[in-house]
């Protein structure tokens, strides 16, 4: 699945990144790299964009841009 389909409150691990997608490079520069985890902590009132917590800070992403991130859901304890 990709992060664009992610749900509020869930944590995901980035498996791979579509490097050619617009915005992918920006996200990588901000530390979203394969192996790092992202947690969706907030979704805007109209369903988009969403706020994600990463190891390198809190970012707001549009779902369309988040589709560049291929992720695995992390099992919740």
């Amino acid at each position: 699945m990709n992060l664009g389909e992610g749900e509020l409150g869930n944590t995901y691990t980035i498996r791979s990144i579509a490097c050619d997608a617009p915005g992918a490079q920006r996200m990588m520069h901000l530390g979203l790299l394969p192996g790092s985890s992202v947690k969706i902590v907030q979704v805007a009132p109209l369903g988009d964009p969403m706020t994600v917590e990463t190891e390198t800070g809190v970012l707001s992403l549009r779902r369309q841009d988040a589709r560049a991130l291929d992720v695995d859901p992390l099992d919740h304890p």
Binding site: D20, P22, Q25, H29, L30, L46, E55, T56
Partner: protein
């Protein structure tokens, strides 16, 4: 390499947004700053000076950047300035990189990129107080040893740690060593790809690229830097394919290699140096964030804040603006007659003084808005507001941060346009700039009040009048949204811009910092737009003053005397005697108003208005309205004064003037097919209002728009808005004529 004491030490300040870089810059330089533009782009360049004990340090504040990566010309200036590509900006002797101490892992990315530049570097860990509060321990000595550069912890907002930085700079002035960082070690494949790009660039364009510049072209999705150095894009593409092939062969994706390698290095650099407390100390940030971005409470808070901002810009500025207006008029009154030459006197009073007044009149709104923006940004709320509003705006190419400029433009487009600086995405910013002047600003209000009060209210009552006024305020917005969509769909056909926005931690705003930003906003307006607006006012003065027939006074006077004589059943010499004695003020005023009208009618502007009147005829405009429309080019509200002059009431009328309202209702077509019919009917009044709602009748907006983007965008906005206004006015007139 050391800088001689006679030569100032050139220091560039760089850092991510939200690191307090500008606060640090202000602490280092104080008030000794100069504002300008980077060559070829509209990014503001601020330079400042510090007179150290042992010499002079010149600081250049580079725009905030997450990375050296350049996907637009605006972003490219950082690399270009650091590599000394600008003729007027010396290559820095030293770089001060400001990072957020509590988020080193990410902020060291830019630092790691900087180590590639072959420039001396000092690292500033700002917001050190947050690190202390969260009880995070960072082994600074080890980190400094690993990077081979000095590191200073600071809290610029509280003026802590700044002296140590200054001391270090002063030491360099006395001949101390410049600290060269340990560069990143690239894999062989990337070194060869870099060399390949350097060779091909030299062969194709004759330009020597530094390795770091070559790597920008190699790694960035868009090779913007290639175009900047004049490298043919096709030739560059072919070299790039080959170079990226080398990177790919080594097992890296060319667009991901840089991020992976830098972050890998950063992990090594920070290994074992940062210790978090066992129980992480949570700031209240998350709870607050949940509330402020909540779909009900968050939106409620958002609209309350925005209402407050708008009310303040709209109403707090009002009295100060009246005061400035009064001050200008007082000054004009004092200066009037001080020069005996009537042309120079008018140039001073109606040209220069009026122009200066028309520039500073914008300051209150700009200052108030910038104070609010400073508070919204410093607290971290601006990013949340952008997050809440993004969906509403993104579909038509704007983004969440377009809200503040558009709302502000309802008060005045000048501060509105300036506030687009908060929008990072250049295309969303440009789109916002292009549509903001359509919002119904407060200068359009007098036009609506005059025409609705004179024509709509007497015919349909106060409820329809109020609805009408409301509709005219919505018209601009209703037109702006599809235009924004069309601009993005058909004009900027290039790649969709991503929206990746950092949500900074909430922080208490610092008064000193907010006041500084307010001051900087006003300074930037005066420095960049002030003189142009002044020049425009003087130009319009010229066009409405010249040519002046010296005999005109006599002939108008004779006409007025004859007219009064007939009306009062007096002889002309009797009337003339009263005139000469100045005994009847009403008559003297009548004469003065007549001569003003005569001069305006026969000025270049008046002649032009008469010539182009046929263009406006389909909207029902006569030549007086046309001259009014043209004369109000520098500022919309001028049309009231112009109509006052043309209807022989002098220029001291306002929109509530009963004389002006009566004269408008009584005005008849002098000739042509509609001779004898009233000029102002409800359809004509509506057409004028539609025209003013959509047109670009504001010289100051035009200048500011150009200063915030480019003259070509200013010209485009003028053309599209005027066309739109004309079409709107003609359609309104022709349609409503059928029903009303």
């Amino acid at each position: 390499m050391t800088a001689a004491p006679s030569k100032p030490l050139q220091v560039a300040l760089i850092g991510n947004p939200n690191t307090g870089k500008t606060t640090l810059f202000n602490r280092l330089t104080g008030l000794r700053q100069r504002v300008g533009n980077f060559p070829g782009v509209t990014v503001e360049k601020v330079v400042g000076k510090w007179h150290a004990p042992n010499g002079v340090v010149e600081f250049l504040d580079l725009p905030g950047a997450y990375s050296l990566s350049a996907n637009s010309r605006d972003e490219a200036i950082v690399v270009e300035a650091l590599c000394g590509r600008f003729r007027d900006i010396p290559r820095p002797d030293l770089v001060l990189c400001v990072v957020d101490a509590s988020n080193l892992q990410r902020h060291l990315f830019l630092v790691s990129q900087l180590t590639d530049l072959d420039l001396p570097l000092i690292l500033i860990l700002n917001q050190w107080d947050v690190v202390e509060k969260k009880q995070i321990r960072i082994d600074l000595d080890q980190l400094a040893a690993r990077l081979e550069i000095p590191i200073f912890p600071t809290t610029a907002s509280k003026n802590r740690g700044i002296d140590a930085v200054k001391q270090a700079l002063d030491q360099i002035l006395t001949g101390g060593d410049l600290p060269h960082p340990k560069p990143i070690a690239w894999p062989v494949a990337i070194e060869s790809a870099t060399a390949l790009i350097q060779d091909r660039a030299r062969a194709d364009s004759g330009q020597d690229l530094q390795p770091a510049e070559a790597r920008r072209i190699l790694f960035d999705a868009q090779p913007v830097l290639a175009a900047e150095i004049g490298w043919n894009l096709d030739a560059c593409r072919s070299a790039l394919d080959q170079a990226r092939g080398l990177v790919q062969e080594a097992g890296f994706h060319p667009l991901a290699a840089e991020s992976l390698l830098h972050y890998q290095r950063i992990r090594g650099l920070l290994e074992g140096l940062i210790q978090h407390p066992a129980q992480p100390i949570r700031s209240g940030s998350e709870k607050l964030d949940h509330l402020l971005t909540h779909r009900v409470w968050g939106l409620l808070f958002f609209f309350t804040v925005m209402f407050l901002v708008f009310r303040s810009v709209y109403t707090w500025a009002g009295p100060i603006m009246d005061w400035i207006d009064g001050g200008t008029q007082w000054l004009q009154g004092v200066a009037d007659g001080m020069i005996s030459n009537p042309v120079l006197n008018s140039l001073l009073v109606d040209g220069v003084l009026a122009g200066v007044g028309s520039v500073i009149i914008f300051l209150p709104q700009i200052l108030i808005l910038f104070l609010f923006i400073a508070i919204l940004e410093d607290t971290g709320y601006m990013a949340r507001a952008a997050f809440l509003m993004d969906r509403l705006f993104s579909w038509c190419g704007l983004n969440g941060k377009s809200f503040v400029p558009m709302l502000t433009s309802y008060a005045c487009a000048i501060p509105g346009l300036m506030s687009t600086r908060t929008i990072e995405d250049p295309k969303a910013r440009l789109t916002t700039i292009l549509i903001s002047p359509l919002m119904s600003c407060s200068a359009r209000l007098p036009v609506y009040v005059l025409l609705i009060g004179t024509f709509v209210e007497p015919a349909y009552g106060p409820t329809v009048a109020a609805l009408c006024l409301f509709a005219f305020h919505l018209l601009g917005l209703a037109v702006a949204v599809p235009i924004a969509w069309a601009i993005n769909r058909f004009w900027f056909k290039t790649q969709r811009r991503p929206f990746v926005l950092e949500m900074p931690a909430y922080r208490r705003p610092r008064l000193r910092n907010s006041l500084w930003r307010m001051f900087a906003g006003g300074r930037s307006f005066l420095a960049r737009a002030g003189t142009m607006i002044l020049g425009l006012t003087v130009l319009l003065w010229f066009l409405s003053y010249f040519p002046r027939d010296p005999q005109a006074g006599e002939s108008v006077r004779a006409d007025v005397i004859a007219e009064i004589a007939t009306a009062q059943s007096m002889t002309e010499p009797e009337v003339e005697a009263v005139f000469d004695a100045g005994a009847n003020e009403a008559w003297t005023a009548l004469y003065e108003h007549r001569i003003d009208a005569h001069y305006l009618e026969n000025s270049y502007l008046g002649q032009f208005g008469r010539t182009v009147q046929p263009i406006f005829a389909p909207a029902g405009f006569d030549w007086k309205i046309t001259v009014g429309v043209l004369a109000s080019f520098p500022a919309r509200e001028v049309i009231i004064a112009t109509l006052g002059m043309l209807y022989h009431l002098g220029s001291d009328v306002d929109e509530e003037s009963t004389d002006l309202r009566e004269n408008l209702t009584r005005a008849l077509w002098e000739n042509g097919p509609r001779a004898g019919q009233p000029v102002f009917t409800i359809p004509v009044a509506l057409a004028i209002m539609v025209f003013f709602a959509l047109c670009m009748q504001c010289g100051a907006t035009l200048v500011t728009l150009a200063r915030e983007s480019h003259w070509k965008w200013s010209a485009l906005t003028f053309v599209y808005m005027t066309t739109l206004a004309w079409i709107g006015a003609v359609t309104t007139y022709q349609l409503t004529r059928l029903f009303l």
